[in-house]
Symmetry: C2
Subunit: 148 residues, 2 copies
């Protein structure tokens, strides 16, 4: 089962259970709500945003559960941690390969189509992952339409 790429789609909780079971992941209510939020809102969220949003549906959810599940999703290759900002991490769900651009002015992160071939080995090291990150000034900031 391939994870949907688009944001804002309705995703049935039954379908989410199936995605988890396919990967031998135990299905729990908080786990489903967190994954649902990630899949339906592809905004490179912080843990804090995920916490706030999931709490709307699940008022008793704790930060420990959010972090436990984010780490759990990462171990199970459903999620990637992105460390582009100085002070916090953001998360990116889904399997499609792409790279990121971070704007030094507004700090927004943009997806960039990924085009570079990943080598199998370099200097004797086995390569299993590769990421390409760009930074600079984003289109919007270049236009000068946003003041800082």
């Amino acid at each position: 089962m391939v994870l949907k790429k688009e944001s804002g789609l309705k995703i049935d909780e039954k379908e989410l259970s199936r995605i988890l079971r396919e990967r031998n992941c135990k299905v729990t209510v908080p786990r489903i709500k967190i994954l649902k939020y990630l899949l339906m809102n592809r905004v490179h969220p912080t843990a804090e945003l995920i916490y706030r949003e999931v709490k709307k549906e699940l008022p008793k959810v704790s930060y420990a559960t959010i972090y436990n599940n984010l780490n759990y999703f990462i171990e199970n290759n459903l999620l990637k941690r992105i460390r582009l900002h100085k002070d916090y991490d953001i998360f990116d769900v889904g399997t499609h390969m792409h790279s990121h651009f971070i704007c030094k002015k507004c700090n927004k992160v943009y997806d960039i189509p990924y085009e570079i071939h990943q080598p199998k080995k370099i200097k004797g090291h086995l390569i299993t992952d590769m990421s390409v990150n760009f930074s600079g000034i984003c289109k919007t900031c270049l236009k000068g339409k946003i003041k800082f």
Copy 2:
């Protein structure tokens, strides 16, 4: 003045002062000691290692001074912050373009010669920096000579 690439070279403190003055950086004793450590020990150190090592020469140095100067060097393009580990950052001095490989087993970071062309613009965003990061299992861990 191009920063020396090799590790372990003796670097005169007079030369360090000159490097700083060339970039209009105020010259101070802790600043020189920190830069000296970075230039003579190219091991992708943590802030904590830098603190411990500089403290040997400058017993009264504080963490605030270490962090202030690391951030100062980054602003002045003498240093890069590398965010590959989950729990801490490491630092990399010098201007030579290269990428990094991090081993998922032993967490060691290796320099990789950098080969990819950096585009000037992508999708309307102005690109000023690019980084390529690889991860996987390093040569040493593959040989199985180190136990975990």
